[in-house]
């Protein structure tokens, strides 16, 4: 127990990333608001980034940092397009509840 508490190793960072990822998965599965779902996806991308950086540090290889940077850029693109879709859907239907979005037209 003392070892787990005070001897922080790579496993701790990986477990933290896994927990964040699973919270994101739970948010995507459970919540109905499209904005919260987008935020949960961002959370999952961050957890993946943390794993990349942990392994980069572990192997002493900087490629992990490069790839994490690229993931951040993709996340920014995803957020902008996703929010644009949310705004467009809201303009037509006045709500962003994914359970009530059943048709492609508005």
């Amino acid at each position: 127990m003392n070892d787990i508490l005070f001897n922080v190793g790579y496993g701790h960072f990986l477990v933290l990333a896994a927990v964040l990822f699973l919270i994101g998965v739970g948010g995507v599965m459970v919540r109905r608001n499209a904005l919260i779902i987008l935020m949960s996806v961002e959370l999952m991308l961050n957890a993946a980034n943390m794993t990349l950086i942990t392994f980069a540090r572990m192997w002493g290889d900087l490629s992990g940092h490069t790839f994490a940077l690229i993931v951040i850029a993709v996340a920014a693109a995803e957020a902008s397009v996703g929010l644009a879709i949310v705004v467009a859907v809201f303009r037509g239907r006045r709500n962003v509840d994914v359970d009530r979005l059943t048709t492609l037209r508005h």
Binding site: A18, M39, R57, W59, G60, A77, V86, V87, A88, N95
Partner: protein
């Protein structure tokens, strides 16, 4: 929420004090060998995966901040509260990156996520300006319960598996990463940039095209469709169908 903030702050202050106190004696023997070559400015920093108690406390504080913020996101009804939890989570994650010697990415995380993307989310929340009714649909409660059990099981298995992860070369992985082969400080802007514009050049160019397409697509989607189109009535907007009710005698 306030309770969490107090706990995290106390852990932070205690952890900083502890790690400073533990870092002091470690500096002494380095003074003799420091003369020779170019030494990274981060050489005297406390190592992360080496069992330093102050560092462990800092890790737990930032882990609590990021996990607490993430839980805040998926449980709050108020969208602004969810976004603020997200900001706290991102700040914690950025501090964790700093512990992993990813200084540049830590700053990028703070600027891009906690700064830009979260501002975007706040903007959209303000545009929508609708309080959320019920976070979880009643019909989905059973599914959510099953999902919760499945997630807990997954967490258990993952923790058991990941805690056993061993670095390939423990001595090298525990020591502070010194300089890259090009002679730059590990994790610094120069080191990451050298890698990004070396072997990561093609992904970098692909990312620039992706961002361009995303910008054009976002503008195209969010633009009002047709100005001459009749605006939908309130019933249509809310998805209320009154035809069946009216046709009944």
């Amino acid at each position: 929420m306030k309770f969490l903030v107090v706990i995290v702050t106390a852990m932070l202050s205690f952890g900083v004090a502890h790690s400073i106190a533990e870092a002091q004696p470690a500096k002494q023997p380095q003074a003799t060998t420091r003369v020779e070559t170019k030494i990274s400015p981060h050489m005297d920093r406390v190592e992360t995966p080496a069992g330093n108690k102050g560092m462990a406390l800092l890790f737990w504080a930032f882990a609590a901040a990021s996990v607490g913020g993430a839980l805040f996101v998926v449980t709050r009804r108020n969208l602004i509260a969810a976004v603020m939890g997200m900001v706290g989570s991102f700040l914690g994650i950025s501090a964790i990156y700093m512990m992993l010697y990813a200084h540049f990415l830590s700053v990028v995380q703070m600027l891009v996520y906690a700064g830009a993307i979260m501002v975007l989310f706040v903007f959209v929340v303000m545009i929508l300006n609708r309080p959320e009714d019920e976070p979880v649909a009643p019909s989905r409660r059973i599914g959510a319960g099953i999902a919760g059990v499945a997630i807990l099981y997954l967490v258990g298995r993952l923790v058991m598996m990941l805690m056993k992860v061993q670095p390939p070369n423990p001595a090298k992985a525990i020591a502070a990463p010194g300089l890259t082969p090009e002679g730059y400080d590990w994790g610094s802007v120069k080191a990451v940039g050298t890698d990004l514009f070396g072997q990561g050049l093609f992904p970098f160019e692909a990312i620039s095209i992706t961002l361009l397409v995303a910008v054009v697509g976002a503008i195209a989607i969010a633009r009002p469709l047709h100005e001459d189109e009749p605006t939908p009535t309130e019933d249509e907007r809310l998805g209320i169908d009154r035809t069946h009710r009216d046709s009944k005698p």
